[in-house]
Amino acid sequence: MICNLFPEPTFFLYSTDVPGLLYYSHIPTAAVALLIGLFVFLNGRKFLLNRLLLAISLCFFLWIVSNLILWTNIHSDFLLFIWTIYVVLFSFISISFIYFVYVFLEKKDISFSLKSILLALLAPVLLFAPTSLNLGGFNITSCDAFQFEGLLFKMYYISLGVLAMVWILILLIRKYRTAASDFRKQIVLMGVGIEFFLFSFFTVTFLAAYLTDIGVLPDSSLEFYGLIGMVVFMILIAFAIVRYHAFNVKLIGAQALIVSLVILIGSEFFFIQSTTNQILTAITLIITGVIGLNLIRSVKKEVAQREHIEKLAGELQETNKRQETLMHFIGHEVKGYLTKDAGAFAAIVDGDFGAPPDGMKPFAERALAQSREGALSVENILTASNQKNGKVSYTKEPFDLKALAEGAVEKTRPTAEAKGLALSFSAGDTGSPYILNGDRGKIGDNVFRNVIDNAINYTPSGSIAISLKKENNKFIFAVKDTGVGITAEDKKRLFTEGGHGEDSQKVNVHSTGYGLFIAKNIAEAHGGTIRAESEGEGKGSTFIVELPV
């Protein structure tokens, strides 16, 4: 029988006698759901979660098509047949969502017994949907079957939706409590999307049918607004894919954005009427498509390059680590040999094996000095490497800083005097002892000694004045020389790892470039600073170490 008061649709689904919002709310929503479902499935068809999302998308798509048929067609036989399918799809969506959420949360398939429960919940719908418990007849004047719907059956399949909402909410909350922070964000995204979809879909669809049935609304067009839930759900899924690579799918934001734009512009065809607007929209759609494709290509290329660089950086880091380990090993070996050599030369100089023959003692003294210098250089390199890797530990205890500075000066005095340099030390009388809480050994050997050695190395002639004073709650240790001075350009490299002045190695060929870097790190580890002042090349320099009292 046909609804004789309504026109036959063209192209099966197109009718002029329907609310204008019908196509605009249905077709883009169905397209988005189907596209995302297919996209996720094609990018990971072996994953159960992806297959379930496709199943939900397909059910939803078919539900939309059924709904469009119910709105536009006029043959009662066919409409009742479709109405049955429509109800089954409605229930399928609820049950599929429960299954989907289980797999999403647990990352594995559900048990046989749980599947049996889900099937048992669905079975009454499948068994009774074609019977008069669901539909007893059709009203061809209003062209619907609302007055012939069985209340009990309707309450059952609607309650499946409510059950799904509550069940899913409980699952999400339970998992959220124990999940890692990154997965928690995905749970929130997915949870909000699913719950919003189920709520809007079932509540609005039920209300639309109920209010139409009791005559409050002229038709059930209110249900159009329920479909927005699916759009929100799909947007959140797309976000989860882009942000967290959910569903094991790699999608870049540009792809999601361009597809959304194309769908959004394309959907305008369902409500614009004038030919001019249709042509303009078509042009906009084509331009957006072309530019979008180029943009996606370019972004994909950049993403691929970035991933390649990240991979190379990872490999480089690994190589550096291996090289560093090797260097450490070599450093320790060399230091060991140099220390043994120094011990042997010291024994000769000290006459442990009897008085050395004429001419041997100065030779042995030079060799001893060079061995010690070599061992110190290796030690500096190893210390700098340890500092960089955070492997240096400090043993802090109170000690007399003035005595330590005096000791450092005395240790370096022979070298200075050998070069003909005048070395002086002065300490301000503060009336209180210079007590510092810190690592005595490191401040003495690696800060004070390094700074004084540096001054000796870069002062060909003249003097080096060392001072210690207490000012503004700081100990200020200064080494002022009449040496080669520092250019503004060299100052930038002075305290860096392996940093040399441009011509520094002409003055000191043994410079490793690590001494001042180590001194700076140790001073900073004690809450202090180190800096260099110089009026320029050839005008001497002053190194100042400040340590908090």
């Binding site: 029988m1 046909i2 004789n4 043959h75 009662s76 036989d77 066919f78 009742l80 047949f81 049955t84 399918i85 089954v88 398939d109 046989f112 599947k115 049996s116 099937l119 669905l122 079975a123 499948l126 068994l127 949907a129 074609p130 019977t131 008069s132 539909l135 007893g136 007849g137 059709f138 009203n139 061809i140 004047t141 007055q147 012939f148």
Partner: protein, 128 residues
């Protein structure tokens, strides 16, 4: 385990096929359902439902609520009941289930037409 999982899938598929198949058989092949529509009503003979054809209500339409078994109605009128007089009456022979509901002022209120000499009349014809 796989067989058990598939067993549920087969059961689901079977239920779907049964559901779709029976639905097709019942509604499209057998036309086993009732059809409701507004049948023609003579206001001189019955208390009819009244509706307006336009906003100003200058042109009124009188109708009774008819329900017929779809297979019978199809046999009597074909797909379209427009201009089919058999659609407006319950035939003693040929209508397995049929009812015509006229307007009852006590129930339906002012939407009923008034018979000459009566305030309201409700006649219900049901066959069988």
């Amino acid at each position: 385990m796989k067989f058990r999982d598939n067993m549920l899938l087969y059961a689901l598929a079977l239920l779907v096929v049964l559901c779709v198949g029976y639905s097709y058989l019942r509604f499209i092949v057998m036309r086993d359902y009732m059809v409701a529509y507004q049948g023609a009503c003579d206001p001189a003979a019955h208390s009819c439902f009244v509706s307006c054809k336009d906003d100003a209500c200058t042109d009124k339409q009188y109708y009774a609520k008819v329900q017929k078994y779809a297979v019978d109605l199809y046999a009597q009128c074909g797909k379209d009941i427009t201009d089919c007089t058999a659609a407006n009456v319950c035939l003693p022979q040929g209508d397995q289930k049929c009812s015509i509901t006229y307007c009852d002022r006590a129930v339906d209120g002012d939407v009923c037409s008034t018979l000459i000499g009566e305030s309201s009349t409700t006649t219900k014809s049901t066959n069988p």
